[in-house]
Each structure stands twice: as C-alpha cells, then as structure tokens.
C-alpha cells in the first residue's frame, strides 16, 4: 500500500532522512519509535507532502503511484492522513464546517457532488460517538481553546470522517491522560480494517499497549536501524535507546 524506498530528505541543506526503506501493507499497524531528533516527525511530514522538506533521493509511493510533486491536499484525496502533534487553531470555523469543507473538497477532486447534508450529519453523529465527542464540541471553533486531549481526540475524529487508506499518528499520545489515551486508541482500533493501514509514531511504548503494532521500527539519525515485532517496543521501554545508538555507530 505505502512503499518508501531509499528516502532522503533535507530541510535548508540539512539532511534529516538518510535512506529510509519501509513497506506498509493493507491491514497492518506499524510503529516507528526513536529518540528525539531522529527524524520521526520529518518522515511523517514528508509522507504527507510538506513542501518545506526537499526529497533529494528515493521515493514514497501509494498503491504503486509515486507521490513526488503531488500537493498535500491531493495526497489527502488519495488517502493519506496525518494526525498532527500540534494541531492548528482556526478561530471562527467550527469543527463541523471544517469537516464539511474537507470532505466536499475531497469529493470534488474525485468528481463527486457535495455530500448531502443529512448524510453528512449522520456521519458526523456516528463518528463523534465513536470518539465519545460531545455534540457541543462540534460547533466550537476548530482547536481553539481545546485542551491537549481534546485536540488529539479531534484529530482522530477527523481521521474517522476522512476514512484514509494510510493514517499516520504523530505523537498522538503526548499530552493525553490515560482515559483520553484509551478513547483515542479505541477509536483507532475500531477504524482499522483489512483495507487500511496505520503508522504510529511515538516515543513511548504506552500507546502500543492499546494500539498493538504488527511491526516496530526504530529510527535513529535518519535511518531505520532496527525492525521487529511488538516485543521490540517492550525491549526499548526496558533498555532505552542507547544500546541501539551504539549498535548503529558500529
């Protein structure tokens, strides 16, 4: 589904990704872990198409199509979703109106008419229930004055609405208390199917107790230095990253 081949990316002449190889198949959950500054968030942004990062070598492909030169919104239309570590506040635009715009822009790109209002409302109701989101919350301005937990929950709500093929969750667990973490993880698990895939980027093993990965990759210094099953996350939790740094240095 998503195939990353020898991906090199830089920002302002500083190379951050130094040859990433990763294949994510439909139905899989991948976790990417690694110390601060290893390139995790950069990888997420490059997959979603942030223009600030320049891809100097290699490629990202979705269902066999190279995404090079494809704008972020078109990537979204093709089924890539990024849950942001720091979602942006948009005063004056309600969560509901924002989702209407996002969904209808995506439909427009596919040559479809706007989603009928009743269908949209039904979908909003279903998905907000899934994430235990209060109806009042939906008429508030997007992310404005939201708590850290509300922002993250709202990110997953957007994911539920947009039904992506590949969802990348960038540090979705940061700033969440245990109850919010459970709700968010539960939402992600319910959205998971054999036709989509999830990439979980995290510092800590904590989230992976709830969203159980099929594969765990350790990113260090712009490269994946180790891959394994979910037990690798446990090992990292126990031993930290230093042993891997040493291994990578050899």
């Amino acid at each position: 589904m998503l195939k990353i081949t020898d991906l090199h990316a830089q920002v302002e002449d500083k190379e951050i990704l130094k040859g990433i190889n990763l294949e994510v198949k439909a139905g899989e959950v991948h976790a990417i872990m690694g110390p601060n500054g290893s390139g995790k968030s950069t990888l997420a942004s490059v997959i979603a198409g942030k223009e600030e990062f320049e891809v100097t070598e290699g490629s990202v492909a979705l269902d066999g199509e190279d995404l090079e030169d494809i704008a972020p919104e078109e990537r979204a239309h093709k089924g890539i979703f990024l849950s942001f570590q720091y979602p942006v506040e948009i005063p004056g635009v309600s969560v509901t109106n924002f989702m209407k715009t996002a969904i209808n822009e995506s439909r427009k790109a596919k040559g479809l008419d706007d989603m009928p209002a009743n269908e949209m409302l039904k979908m909003i109701r279903e998905k907000s229930e899934l994430l235990e989101i209060d109806r009042k919350f939906l008429s508030r301005s997007l992310n404005e004055g939201f708590s850290g937990g509300e922002k993250k929950r709202n990110e997953i709500f957007q994911m539920a609405m947009l039904e992506p093929k590949v969802a990348i969750l960038d540090e979705t667990d940061s700033g969440l208390d245990i109850d919010a973490l459970r709700i968010v993880a539960n939402g992600v698990n319910k959205l998971k199917s054999k036709d989509n895939a999830v990439i979980v980027i995290t510092h800590y093993q904590r989230l992976l107790d709830y969203i159980v990965p099929d594969f765990v990759h350790v990113l260090y210094n712009g490269r994946i230095v180790k891959s394994g099953g979910k037990e690798l996350a446990m090992e990292l939790e126990e031993k930290g990253y230093d042993w891997l740094k040493q291994e990578a240095a050899v």
Partner: protein, 438 residues
C-alpha cells in the same frame, strides 16, 4: 481650475440657495474660510504622509449633480441589509430618495439633516450639537461643514431605542462623469438610549466619485451606539470619512469599519471621552487587492479618569495595495486609571503590498494601563500545511486562515444578519467558496 478653487467658487452658488438668516450660515462661512486658508492636506503634513490626494484634486468633479436621478430598488437591493427590517435613509447622488427610504418620527427622529437644519422644531438640538464635536481646524472637515446641507439626522431621546437598526446608504448613479459628495450626519443618543447604525457608500458605475463625509455622534450618560461602516465601493470611488464622537459617562460606543474596496479610503475616527467609566471601541477588518489604498487614522482622547478604549484592526493586503494604521491615544493628566488597548495586525500576501503602522501615545497621567502592539507577517506555513493535509486546496486553505485571522473583529458584530453578510463579503473578497457560510 483646480478642485479647491472650484469648491470655493461653488460655495457662493451654494449659499445663494440656502437660508442666509439661518445661524448655520455663520458656521458655514467660518468653515469655508478655514478651508480656503488651508486647502487640501498635502503629504508634507505628518497625518497625510502616506496618503496623497494629489491625483484626486486633478479630477473635474461636479460639486452638485445637474439633475435628480432615480434608481430602482431591485437594482440596489443587494446593498441593503434586506434580510431584516430596517429604517433606511437613502441618498442618490447626494439627494434624498424618499422612495428608497423609510424614516420615522415615532418616539425617535430618524430623518434628514436638511430638515433638521431648517425646521424650527429641531433648532434646540441643532444649537446644542451641530458642529460641536467636529473639528473647526481640520481642512476637509471644515470643507464638509461649509457645504453641510444633507445627510442623516438621528435623535434618540432618553430611554429610547429604535425598533430596528438604521441603514444610511449613499448611491452614486454615474450620471455625472465625476461627482463629489459631502454628506453630513448628526446622531444624538440621549441618556440610557441606544441605536444601531449601518453606513455604506456605493457607486453604481465606473465613473469617479469622491465622498468627503462628516459624522458627529453624541452619546449621553449610559448611551449605547453600535456603528458599522461597510466600505466596499467600486475601484473608482474614494472616501474620506471623518467621524467625531463625543461620549459622556458610562456610555458605550463601538465603531466597526470593514474596508474591502474603493480606490482610496481615509478614515479619521475620533473619540472624545467627556465623562467617567466610558467604553470606546474601534474595530476594523481591511482586505485589499489591486492598487487599493486604505488609511485608518484613529484618535482616542482620554479626558476623564476611569475610562477604557479598545482598538483592534486587522489588515490583509494583496497585489499592490497599501495600508496605513495610525492610532493616537492621548491620556490627560487627570485621566487616571485609564485602560487603553490598541492592536494592529497585518498580513501581507504579496511582495508588492505595503503597510505603514504607527502607534502614537501621549500619556500625561501616571496610573494608567496602555498597551499597544502591531505586527506585520505572512501566513503561517505550518497552519497552511495542516489544512492542506485535510484535503483543502491551497487557495481555500489560505482563505480559511485569513478568515480566522480576522475573526475576532467579527465576534462583536451584534446584528447576526450583518455578520453573515460581512462573512460573505470576506469570502468573496478572498475569492473562495468554502461550501458553508462562514
């Protein structure tokens, strides 16, 4: 003949048509003398450093329309806030249109300046208020005073509130190749009274229009005035808006200025706080493109203690447009416990657009809170990426961010239908259809 000479010679003809025995006659004579002495302001004056009236003065404006022109309601309906019932004071080429207007004398006076200046029953009010807060020095204000004859006259007695908002609309038909208009408005809100006013100037063709407007507003104790100025005129129209507000104790006056169009717009907005516990609010959203120019000059004079003033102006400048914000706050020595807040934030969306922003604080009291801030920036790339990553194209994403940037100015608009209308104007100005009413 340049415009100044033409105006001065026209004044003689103008005076011949009005009542020379009226006390206003002397006011006009004084005023034209001042204008004759000073003429149009030039860029050499600090207050006009960034706004030039040179090219306007070269245009051969008609000072009076040659004939009375009519327009059909259906052709101008969209400029009215027709979603709700309103009082309407409408002028076509400077002449009152009874056909398009809806005035009243039912407990309040919502009618015409020409009547107020000539009929004995209004004399007590005119004697007390007319030309009492408007500057007798500023040349363009005195030019308007010299030619003051027509405009809106609104008098709200103690404890009264009109049943509905009032719209003041000025249409220019373009039947003159170039027309100069000088409306004069007087608004008096007595103790504990309240009023909502929407003012708009609209040219209906691409012929040149120059409007030099003066509005005097008096708010007595506990009076409330909400004033909305919609400036979205044709690219050949220029507006010089001189608004003077005199507030007494505990009154609340809010002026919102929405500047989306026109060739040259100059807003001189002046607040004088003559009492304690006064609240004065000035808010503005400016969205410009092409070669449009808007200059906001605000003044708040804190004369008494324990008052507040709030200024919040947001500007979005594209293409080769230019903007000016000059916010002057004077706090007299006696005006202790003043709380004066001023904010001017700008986004430049083109390399060719410019904004000059300047706070000007003169504080003579020592126990005051005065804060001011101005910013000039570009759109936040991270925020743009966030919206795009949700499938929203760049153009629409930019528009949403600009809307969000201007949003807090809209929050205080108290007429929902007007707010919806302004939202639509903003969406149109930003060139997007977001699939919902903002």
């Amino acid at each position: 003949m340049d415009l100044k000479d033409k105006l001065i010679s026209s004044f003689m003809a103008f005076e011949n048509n009005v009542d020379v025995d009226n006390p206003v006659h002397d006011v006009r004579m004084e005023a034209i003398k001042n204008f004759e002495e000073k003429g149009f302001p030039s860029k050499k004056e600090e207050a006009w450093k960034y706004t030039s009236l040179n090219s306007i003065q070269k245009i051969d404006f008609s000072i009076f329309p040659k004939e009375e022109n009519t327009i059909e309601y259906k052709d101008v309906k969209r400029y009215f806030l027709h979603e709700i019932d309103t009082y309407k004071i409408v002028f076509v080429d400077g002449i009152y249109s009874s056909y398009l207007s809806e005035t009243t004398h039912d407990g309040v006076d919502i009618c015409l300046m020409s009547a107020a200046l000539t009929k004995p029953m209004y004399k007590p009010v005119i004697d007390v208020y007319f030309n009492k807060v408007a500057s007798k020095e500023e040349s363009l204000t005195t030019l308007n005073t010299a030619f003051s004859r027509e405009g809106a006259y609104i008098y709200i007695p103690k404890n009264k509130m009109p049943k509905k908002p009032i719209e003041i609309l000025h249409f220019a038909t373009g039947n003159e190749a170039a027309l100069m208009l000088q409306p004069r408005n007087l608004i008096v809100v007595e103790e504990n009274a309240e009023v909502q006013i929407i003012e708009r100037h609209q040219s209906l063709t691409s012929n040149e229009v120059l409007t030099n407007s003066v509005t005097e507003i008096f708010a007595a104790e506990n009076g409330i005035v909400d004033y909305y100025k919609i400036q979205n005129d044709a690219p050949e129209s220029s507006l010089i808006d001189n608004t003077y507000i005199n507030q007494k104790g505990k009154s609340v006056v809010k002026v919102h200025t929405f500047s989306f169009g026109g060739k040259l717009t100059r807003n001189n907005l002046n607040f004088y706080q003559n009492g304690e516990y006064i609240d004065s609010t000035m808010k503005g959203v400016t969205i410009l493109g092409d070669k449009q120019h808007v200059d906001h000059h605000t003044l708040v004079h804190h004369i008494e203690p324990n008052c507040e003033s709030h200024q919040d102006y947001k500007g979005i400048y594209g293409d080769g447009s230019t903007g000016v914000f000059n916010g002057k706050i004077i706090v007299d020595k006696i005006a202790q416990k003043t709380n004066a807040f001023q904010q001017n934030n700008n986004i430049l969306i083109s390399d060719k657009a410019t904004i000059n922003t300047k706070p000007q604080l003169e504080i003579f009291a020592d126990d005051v809170k005065c804060s001011h801030g101005c910013t000039i920036g570009q759109l936040d790339e991270d925020a743009l990426f966030y919206l795009q990553s949700r499938g929203i194209p760049k153009k629409e994403a930019r528009a949403l961010l600009m809307y969000a940037f201007a949003n807090n100015v809209l929050e205080s608009v108290r007429i929902p239908e007007l707010k919806a209308r302004i939202n639509k104007l903003i969406a149109k100005k930003l060139g997007v259809n977001l699939g919902f009413d903002l």
